[in-house]
């Protein structure tokens, strides 16, 4: 094992891993983090903590990770390239490791124009693939980007995101290959609604042997309503929501659509689990964390292995 990461340990044991997500609050209340944490306790193997997602200012990802760590979680610290240059990034990586964080998810970050500070300057000194390589260089070579040697190397399990549905499709598997080459240990995908298209992508991933070099966790997000499904299809770039899914939700009375959404999500997890190379599932129940336990249980993934 490269690190003390819980998900790395479970993946090595051959377990099908379950992760979820916890968005930090828009304020300094630590209790808000604990409250969300409590909904996920003993439900999942690792919790992603988002880094100012959609460019809306929130409590820092690292601080929230530490609060969750104190609760017994093995947080997956999300770090975006939007807000930090390579000096801050390397420094935060060392700090996170010192605080006992074992997992990092390397992301570009949403553009600031989507958030509450659209007039901000972005940084993008390095990109997500270069970030993966930076963490790997610190961890495995014990060297800073500037070439100097570290005293005490950060032992982080390196993750990244990949969107199998974004354009241009033809380079999506190739791009995952770049992430693996850069040093990525695991991947969490964008939420999958089109299992067929995802399977096709996984086929390309297997052809390149990438599934053997990094663990692929398939991303899912339960739909709350037909309206939400339509909204995501129309407004979220790189989101592939098949019409059949929207129709299925719309065919159910409004008050039962959320339950139908959960049912669809569970079915989807069961399908994804059967795809060769899928090593786990990442459940992103945005502001719906209370449903994660139900989904995990219904998908037959409960209780989690020790």
């Amino acid at each position: 094992m490269k690190t003390k990461s819980n998900i790395e340990r479970l993946l090595e044991k051959g377990e099908f891993v379950v992760t979820s997500e916890c968005g930090p609050p828009r304020g300094s209340d630590a209790e808000a983090v604990r409250k969300k944490g409590n909904l996920l306790k003993e439900v999942v193997d690792g919790v992603n903590v988002t880094d100012n997602q959609t460019s809306v200012v929130r409590m820092s990802s690292l601080a929230s990770c530490v609060i969750l760590k104190e609760m017994g979680f093995d947080p997956i610290w999300q770090l975006v390239c939007r807000d930090r240059n390579r000096i801050a990034i390397q420094s935060d990586i060392l700090g996170a490791a010192a605080l006992g964080i074992n997992n990092i998810l390397c992301l570009s970050g949403d553009h600031q124009s989507f958030g509450d500070n659209p007039k901000a300057k972005n940084v993008y000194d390095i990109d997500s693939i270069q970030l993966i390589h930076t963490v790997k260089t610190l961890r495995d070579e014990g060297k800073f980007l500037g070439g100097d040697e570290l005293k005490g190397t950060p032992s982080l399990f390196i993750g990244a995101a990949e969107n199998p549905f974004a354009d241009p499709y033809e380079i999506r598997a190739m791009r995952l290959g770049k992430k693996v080459k850069a040093g990525c240990d695991f991947i969490q995908t964008q939420c999958i609604y089109n299992v067929e298209k995802f399977s096709k992508w996984m086929g390309e991933v297997r052809e390149r042997g990438l599934h053997k070099q990094c663990a692929i966790l398939a991303g899912v997000t339960p739909l709350k309503s037909a309206g939400m499904a339509k909204y995501m299809k129309k407004n979220v770039p790189g989101m592939d929501v098949p019409d059949s899914l929207i129709e299925r939700l719309a065919a159910v009375p409004k008050e039962n659509q959320a339950q139908e959404g959960i049912k669809i999500c569970v079915e989807m997890i069961r399908q994804l689990k059967e795809i060769e190379g899928v090593r786990g599932v990442h459940i992103m129940a945005i502001e719906w964390e209370e449903k994660v336990a139900e989904i995990v249980k219904a998908a037959g993934l409960s209780p989690r292995p020790a």
Binding site: H111, S128, I129, Q130, P168, E170, K178, K181, P237
Partner: protein
């Protein structure tokens, strides 16, 4: 060319409020080509300023003058004979020209009438588009001749991000995704294998991040004491 936009009239009116005699100085280079601060735009702005002043019961004397360039003292010096007749210069050059005019006349108020925006090209009449950020270390040979620094909203070197959709950038549906363009071009050139190479962390010290830049060609310089 350097592309810019003329500032809104209200903003210019606010700047020239204290003055009754101004020299409105156009530039005949890039800023003329992008129809922001050439002779024609100087004429339009002068009329607008005079009309507004008159409407508010005031007066303003404006001398319209367009220089060949405002980025060379030899041209800027052409206003020397009459510059002192005016309280302020309103420059319609790019940011470089405005500053260089101010630098030549340290005692004179020089006001900007242009918001300088980018280094770009003419897409069609009336439409200009950004192409270069002057980062000082060109990588166009790796990216099919399309610059991710200038044309990707996140300046990703190993893009695209997950926000590329139907060839467009998530930041603006009218903007092409630079990485879609790069992939298309690499394919056309039969160089898609280039895409698989990781472009390493960039040296930004050649860009503005390294501090203001100066270029010296010793062989072209005229010795100071000759």
């Amino acid at each position: 060319m350097i592309v810019g936009n003329r500032k809104p009239l209200e903003e210019i009116l606010e700047m020239v409020k204290p003055y009754k005699k101004i020299l409105l100085l156009g530039c005949n280079e890039c800023i003329t080509v992008c129809a922001a601060g050439g002779e024609r735009e100087v004429g339009v702005l002068a009329s607008e300023l005079k009309l507004s002043r008159a409407k508010n019961g005031g007066e303003i004397e404006i001398k319209e003058h367009t220089l060949e360039r405002q980025c060379d003292f030899e041209y800027i010096d052409q206003i020397k004979p009459f510059v002192d007749d005016y309280e302020a210069i309103v420059s319609m050059a790019c940011g470089a020209g405005i500053q260089y005019t101010a630098e030549r006349f340290p005692g004179k108020v020089v006001l900007p009438a242009i918001n300088t925006t980018f280094l770009g090209v003419t897409l069609e009449q009336g439409v200009w588009s950004e192409r270069c950020q002057g980062c000082g270390e060109c990588i166009l040979h790796l990216t099919g001749g399309i610059c991710p620094v200038a044309r990707c909203a996140k300046s990703l070197f190993n893009g695209p991000c997950g926000g590329s959709s139907n060839g467009k950038c998530e930041v603006n549906p009218d903007t092409p995704c630079a990485w879609q363009l790069i992939v298309d071009r690499l394919k056309e050139l039969g160089q898609l294998e280039n895409y698989e190479k990781i472009i390493e962390v960039k040296n930004w010290s050649t860009s503005r991040d390294g501090g203001p830049r100066t270029r010296v060609r010793e062989d072209l310089r005229i010795p100071k004491d000759s």
